[in-house]
């Protein structure tokens, strides 16, 4: 039993869930109040993109799905909508990172920003596909721009956090 608990504690996705809970609480409190230009900053999508930047496209997609699912549970959107979009964001960030020769801090910023902006565009598209109306308009681009800029600033520390959270089990031991 204790072995199982230890295994669970060492599992990187279990750590990601704990980190995700912390970030989600920041998302629903302080970042929900701070709305520059009327846009709610999206640190959950940043976490998904940073997972891809930190550990590649495959891990990024799984991590993005988990993070998106947690976000879905506090939103009124259909369950699985953010999960699907954030999985794509994590995957794209990982693919982008793999295409960069000798990535630096600023390439990570750029990729985190672009992946976040893509996520902010995909989200209303996915919502529209699932039946929501009236949200796919030009404001989506503005939201994507603001979220992308903010997430560029925060992507370096977020990537380090995800690198730690998604460390392999053997490396932790």
């Amino acid at each position: 039993m204790i072995e199982r608990v230890l295994w669970l504690a060492e599992n990187r996705y279990a750590r990601l869930v704990l980190v995700g809970l912390m970030v989600l609480s920041l998302q629903t409190t302080v970042f929900n109040d701070m709305r520059p230009f009327g846009v709610c900053l999206q640190v959950m999508v940043l976490l998904a993109a940073s997972s891809g930047l930190a550990r590649g496209s495959d891990v990024g997609a799984i991590a993005g799905f988990i993070i998106g699912l947690m976000y879905d549970l506090v939103l009124t959107t259909p369950l699985g909508l953010c999960a699907a979009v954030f999985a794509i964001v994590g995957y794209l960030a990982g693919v982008g990172q793999s295409l960069v020769y000798e990535p630096t801090w600023w390439t990570r910023m750029l990729l985190g920003s672009i992946a976040s902006a893509i996520g902010m565009i995909l989200l209303p598209i996915a919502s529209t596909i699932t039946g929501a109306t009236g949200i796919l308009n030009t404001r989506v681009l503005f939201v994507a721009l603001i979220v992308g800029l903010f997430n560029a600033v925060m992507s370096v520390p977020a990537e380090r956090l995800c690198r730690w959270a998604l460390t392999e089990q053997a490396a932790v031991r």
Binding site: L21, T29, V30, M34, C40, T76, L81
Partner: protein, 352 residues
Amino acid sequence: MDLRGSSVINFTRSAFGVVFRPIESATKVITRPVGNAWNGITHYNDVVEENHRLNDLVAFSEGSTISAIASVREAQELLSLNGLPTLAGIASCTAQVVGQSPSNFAQTVEINRGSECGLKVGMPVLNAAGMIGKITDVYNKRSVVMLLTDPGYSLAVKVVNIPAPTTTTTTTTLPGSPVAVTTTTTSTTTTTTLPRVTTTTGIPGFVPGVTIATSSTLTPLSGVSTVPAGDATPNQSGGSTGSEITVPPGLDVPLRETGALEGRGISRTPIVRFVENQPRFGAVRIGSPIISAGGATSLAPPDIVIGTVSRVVNRTGTLGPILEVTLAANLKNLNFVRILLYQPSSERVVTP
């Protein structure tokens, strides 16, 4: 993907809420100084301006509140006397807004009351100013309210048109008198002057314009008693110079038209569609109040204040105008709200 109404998904959301709420509450306490600092930096000037505006508003409102309360009570008594539904007969539950949606694409807020208070999906939510939305998700101790500005929101409403202030001049000749009397009637005032001659209406007893007068009694001004009362014949224009002219009640009741209110997102004002272009209703005037229409399938009981018409977009052909609405409630600054325990028939779960 989600399956609406699935008990498994509802249970999962509730269970996650039970785990997540304490973490969220702790984070809220810890990060409150950060949020306050941010709001202090970005909204200080707005708060000062709003404070001044609200002080003026309070001073303005205090005087009219008492008479308004009296009018509302009289109206409620009249409605109940006639067996019509009133808001006073609907139980309500007061709640506090504890958060808004962290999404950029959903216009929802969260309140701290849930099924334990008797709340159900579809119930209308109001604040002191008027309607703000409806309940879309209910948990044990919290609920989610979809705001009027959400693109998914729609509600049957009534537009109460304000009668246009009109002026009508009638010139008549009194029998047996060389003097003609001209009566100028507006929606609120009546003046009588002495003109030269000329008669513009020959229909006895007909005074154009009185049907749109909002004052029920038209009294001639002093100094016009140039016509002896005995010379005037009843049922003729100006025949009762010395007495008052009484307009039958009911002709000045504001006209109403129904439409559908639709939200259009955070940055755009809601609109009212499907307003018919009826000649009797006339052109919709800016500032006309908009209230809920009620009805068996409506999401809200009748006569809840929603807002006023801020812009009228006329369309060609038989299409009626589209009305942009300024909401009475300030959705950016919600605190205490009232939920009417009124569940529309369209939102009731049909049990097999």
